[in-house]
């Protein structure tokens, strides 16, 4: 079996931009994203002797980067977790009977929901919509849908209860859906 070898002198040119895009999709702040990429390379450099060559250099670096991102959320959690107001945020979508309001009810999207989306415009709008979420919603959304962590892991990392978690996911989904529908003209 061919063994993977590290080539640290080529890391930044080969993976710098890819790791930066990966981080920026999860952490909107360019300065923090740059710092996390730097920390990723630094940790990788320090751990280079423990690299066994089982994973490719690229996926090894991405794993380190992913852990940096989750660590960042964990450290930030205390600042961004706010007391939950059960009302307000989701209520804009529903009337007093808790049924969809006329303005926010889902309409048909002109697409195959089962297909993998490959449209650049879609991701641009998704990214813009994600930035409008509260920081804690973004953290929960990224950890769940981008990092594939399960509810228990996310609650533990952020120090939230499972009912907080479900409320945050619910709000994030409602807001993203509405924002996509309002901003993406190709849907109609």
């Amino acid at each position: 079996m061919p063994e993977n070898k590290l080539k640290p002198d080529q890391w930044i040119n080969a993976y710098g931009d890819a790791l930066y895009s990966y981080t920026l999709a999860r952490i909107n702040d360019t300065g923090i994203a740059e710092d996390l990429v730097q920390e990723t390379f630094l940790s990788a450099w320090k751990a280079r002797d423990s690299y066994k060559g089982e994973a490719s250099e690229k996926s090894w670096l991405f794993t380190i980067c992913k852990n940096k991102i989750i660590d960042h959320y964990r450290k930030k959690a205390r600042d961004i977790v706010q007391p939950m107001a059960e009302t307000s945020a989701t209520d804009q979508f529903f009337d007093s009977e808790e049924h969809w309001t006329v303005e926010d009810k889902p309409t048909d999207w002109a697409m195959d929901y089962a297909s993998k989306m490959d449209n650049k415009e879609f991701y641009k709008i998704l990214n813009g919509c994600k930035k409008k979420l509260q920081e804690i919603q973004q953290a929960v959304f990224s950890m769940k849908y981008m990092e594939d962590l399960d509810a228990a892991e996310i609650c533990k990392a952020l120090g939230i209860t499972s009912s907080n978690y479900w409320v945050l996911i619910h709000r994030a989904k409602l807001q993203l859906r509405t924002c996509l529908e309002k901003n993406w003209i190709n849907l109609k």
Binding site: P8, W11, I12, N13, G16, D17, Y20, S21, Y22, L24, A25, R26, E34, V37, Q38, F41, L42, W45, K46, T90, D91, F93, F94, E97, E98, H99, W100, K105, P106, T107, D108, W109, Y113, K116, M117, K120, F122, Y123, K124, L126, N127, K130, F141, K144, Y145, M146, D148, D150, A151, W166, V167, I169, H170, K173, L174, L176, R177, L180
Partner: protein, 77 residues
């Protein structure tokens, strides 16, 4: 009959297979009657499945200065 607000809340729980049997039954009954929440369920799934590909389409680049800075940090190790 549960409300649309409750039904959409349960949709995300369903995606993670965390519904109790009563919630599963409530959601199924609601979705059978409500085309708006059926749309929500499909769109919610669609957003969730595609979100992980976001970075592949961002094409963000580190500035040359940032790259030089990182190279310098590594060199000093």
């Amino acid at each position: 009959m549960i409300s649309c607000k409750k039904a959409t809340y349960l949709v995300s729980k369903k995606e993670e297979k965390k519904l109790s049997w009563i919630e599963r039954w409530q959601l199924r009954a609601h979705l059978a009657m409500c085309s708006l929440c059926r749309k929500f369920e499909m769109q919610s799934g669609f957003i969730g499945r595609n979100a992980k590909h976001l970075h592949e389409h961002l094409h963000a680049t580190l500035s040359p200065e940032a790259k030089e800075k990182i190279k310098a940090v590594l060199k000093n190790q």
